[in-house]
């Protein structure tokens, strides 16, 4: 069936964009460029557009595939293996935390839920005080956020929240917990609710439909199915980037290689993958910072059953939030948490719900009447929250070792209490804190008693993450950071890092807009340095 939706990717390909699918290579390939960018997510996409507009010859390297709206059929069985790292089942080393990260052109921006927050002032203040990032104030960042909000159409979402979001609002307000509306980067959104499987209508202003088409239209080259293996670093400079071609499934190397020779190299593979590439490349790390302090916003989950349909699969997935439990305590005190809701679809719902057999089947039958709240814990501020460490396996593939500290588990327990109380206030019949030793509770006092008594341990408490940050911290002090505040890697002349791995702590909010604003600033500085001219200002088409 032909789609009523116009597809900018197919149109661009027809117009002659330079796109190389490495899976199809029949011989090794060498490409020359002014700048090569590893990764096409938030950091890589923003950087590519600004550098291409500045007239530089840009090459983008992407491990995933080039998909477009014609491929986005809103089916989990197709979306997860093709659009996510490790089929949306990437795990921490102990397998106790499931991590959602994109692996496709557009990176996580192609599959995120469109929530757009500027970096919270308290987070910037913490970086200024503890990481010497004096130029990173609310005021100095504001123009960069404004620029990217205009570029990506970050707007107030005027449509009424779906029931899943509204129940968070109703319950919180009954308890005098303030909530607010989430801004979204969408244009002409159909309010379908399938942002996590690739936007079928091109309404989401992800990198896939904005900055990357813009860069390709300016002559940039995109290489897909290419895994960046190693930066060849000699004499304090990168000499080449070496990549492996993957087959169409993305699972196997074809044996063909790609070498990119560039004046400048930008690493934008996202947290976990960027530090791993730098580790494989033996990039200088005199203070043993590489891959350390990797943060997750560890997220815990509370499900609840209502008399009325919730239909959590339908409508914009995240439109209401509360920062009450972050704003009411010191940023480095008891671990704070942000409240949001997730979209609900059968596969992710079935795997997230605890238990098995008849009891699980009964919960599944109530799928349409189930409401879910998430609490995202703000890690990296409390002294007992140092994040995880990226390691390389024998085959060079990264794995994140993240151990929840006592301070984090304390936050988990408080968050489960908060969510259950809100759900009962909103009229829940039964609340299910997601923990292997919990069951369904019919009233707040039973839930409170049970949550107080649960053992908080890995694999028993359901913990998930969709926000991986840190591992290549930014600071002008080489004892605290690997990357200077202008994005330049300390000790390697022509190497920069532009992605969420730069964050010295977690953000305390969905990170996409933080990455857009930060990398727009870094890329503009880099464009000016490489061309000697003022950086161009990207504008929406």
């Amino acid at each position: 069936m032909s789609s009523p939706i116009s597809d900018p990717i197919q149109a661009g390909l027809a117009s002659g964009w330079h796109v190389i699918d490495a899976a199809q290579l029949t011989a090794d390939l060498t490409v020359e460029a002014d700048v090569v960018i590893v990764g096409t997510g938030a950091g890589g996409g923003v950087t590519a557009e600004i550098l291409a507009l500045a007239g530089l010859k840009v090459v983008l390297i992407e491990e995933g595939e080039l998909k477009s709206s014609k491929d986005f059929k809103m089916r989990e069985a197709q979306a997860y293996p093709t659009l996510y790292q490790e089929s949306a089942a990437r795990k921490t080393k102990d397998k106790a935390i499931n991590i959602l990260q994109g692996r496709t052109v557009g990176g996580s921006t192609a599959v995120n839920w469109t929530s757009s927050f500027r970096t919270p002032p308290g987070t910037l203040r913490f970086w200024q005080e503890h990481y010497g990032l004096k130029d990173y104030s609310v005021e100095t960042m504001a123009p960069w956020f404004e620029m990217m909000e205009q570029r990506l159409n970050v707007i107030q979402w005027e449509t009424a929240p779906n029931e899943n979001n509204d129940l968070l609002k109703v319950g919180a307000q009954k308890l005098n917990i303030p909530v607010a509306a989430i801004r979204r980067n969408v244009k002409g959104c159909w309010n379908l609710g399938y942002c996590g499987m690739g936007c079928p209508t091109n309404a989401k202003q992800s990198m896939l439909v904005t900055t990357i088409p813009s860069a390709l239209s300016k002559g940039a080259t995109l290489v897909t199915h290419a895994r960046a293996e190693r930066l060849q670093i000699e004499h304090d400079a990168v000499q080449a980037l070496h990549c492996t071609a993957l087959d169409a499934s993305g699972l196997r190397a074809t044996g063909k290689t790609i070498r990119i020779n560039a004046r400048h190299y930008v690493v934008s593979g996202g947290a976990i993958n960027s530090p791993a590439l730098l580790m494989r490349s033996k990039a200088p790390d005199p203070h043993h910072l590489l891959g350390k302090r990797t943060f997750l916003h560890p997220t815990v989950v509370s499900a609840a059953l209502y008399a009325q349909p919730v239909n959590g699969y339908a409508g914009a997935p995240q439109t209401i939030y509360s920062d009450h439990f972050m704003d009411t305590q010191a940023i480095d005190g008891a671990v704070g948490y942000k409240l949001e809701v997730p979209p609900l679809h059968p596969l992710l719902f079935a795997t997230t719900m605890a238990g098995f057999g008849d009891q699980h089947a009964e919960m599944m039958k109530q799928f349409a009447n189930t409401h879910v709240i998430l609490a995202l814990l703000r890690d990296g501020f409390h002294e007992d929250s140092q994040g995880g460490a990226v390691h390389l396996r024998d085959d060079g593939y990264p794995v994140l070792d993240y151990v929840m500290s006592d301070a984090m588990w304390d936050g988990v327990k408080r968050a489960l209490l908060t969510m259950a109380e809100i759900q009962f206030a909103a009229g829940a019949k039964t609340v299910y804190p997601l923990h292997e030793q919990a069951s369904g509770y019919a009233d707040w006092s039973a839930a409170r008693q049970a949550i107080d008594a649960l053992p908080y341990q890995p694999n028993l408490t359901r913990v998930v993450s969709a926000h991986v940050m840190g591992g290549c911290p930014m600071s002008d002090d080489i004892k605290l950071g690997l990357v200077a505040s202008n994005g330049q890697y300390h000790g390697v002349d022509n190497l920069s890092v532009h992605d969420g791995s730069l964050f010295p702590t977690s953000i305390g909010a969905n990170p996409q807009l933080s990455i857009y604003g930060l990398t727009a600033r870094l890329a503009s500085g880099l464009a000016q340095k490489l061309t000697g001219k003022p950086a161009p200002r990207p504008v929406a088409a």
């Binding site: 379908l192 059968p346 098995f356 089947a361």
Partner: protein, 170 residues
């Protein structure tokens, strides 16, 4: 029996660890073996069928057709994983299907084709809250692969009140 079982378990696990360490040393001198896609042998198929029935409970009709569907969807879910993770799932099935490790680690006395539902349920529940994180993560892998595979299939959607995506664009 619990003492015998526990000491064997310990020896077995330490044996596994020693083998893994030896493998690590070996691999540092030799380039790693190429990884293969997950494959199910006859006993593995019987194990997955029995475990699927217990995992899915009343969601899965007890018919050969439904059992095959559950197995097929689990295999589809496994096929999307990186080969290194497929290897881990293969190792899990090796533990489940070798008679001695099946009896000691799962407590299921019979071959999988004859396994009683109650024994399989008891095994899943014991791994779910086991003090060995290796077995806990084995439970979670089975949980996610079987349940995820099953409910990803649109034939299950009417039963849970999910209408599916809008027809015009899917």
């Amino acid at each position: 029996m619990s003492l015998t079982r526990r000491s064997f378990l310990k020896a077995g696990l330490f044996g596994t660890l020693a083998l893994a360490a030896a493998g690590g040393v070996y691999r540092t001198f030799k380039s790693p073996e190429p990884l293969h896609a997950f494959a199910l042998d006859t006993e593995g198929h019987a194990a997955l069928a029995a475990i699927s029935a217990a995992m899915l409970g009343s969601a899965m009709p007890i018919t050969p057709e439904a059992t095959e569907r559950a197995v097929r969807h689990t295999l589809e879910a496994i096929a999307g994983l990186p080969l290194a993770v497929q290897k881990e799932v293969q190792d899990l099935f090796a533990l489940l299907t070798l008679g001695v490790t099946r009896r000691l680690l799962t407590g299921v006395p019979d071959d999988w084709a004859q396994a009683k539902r109650a024994d399989v349920v008891a095994f899943l529940q014991s791994w779910r809250v086991h003090r060995l994180s290796l077995l806990q993560s084995g439970y979670h892998a089975l949980h996610d692969l079987i349940l995820g595979g099953w409910y990803a299939d649109e034939s299950t959607w009417p039963g849970i009140g999910y209408p599916g995506p809008i027809k015009e664009l899917s």
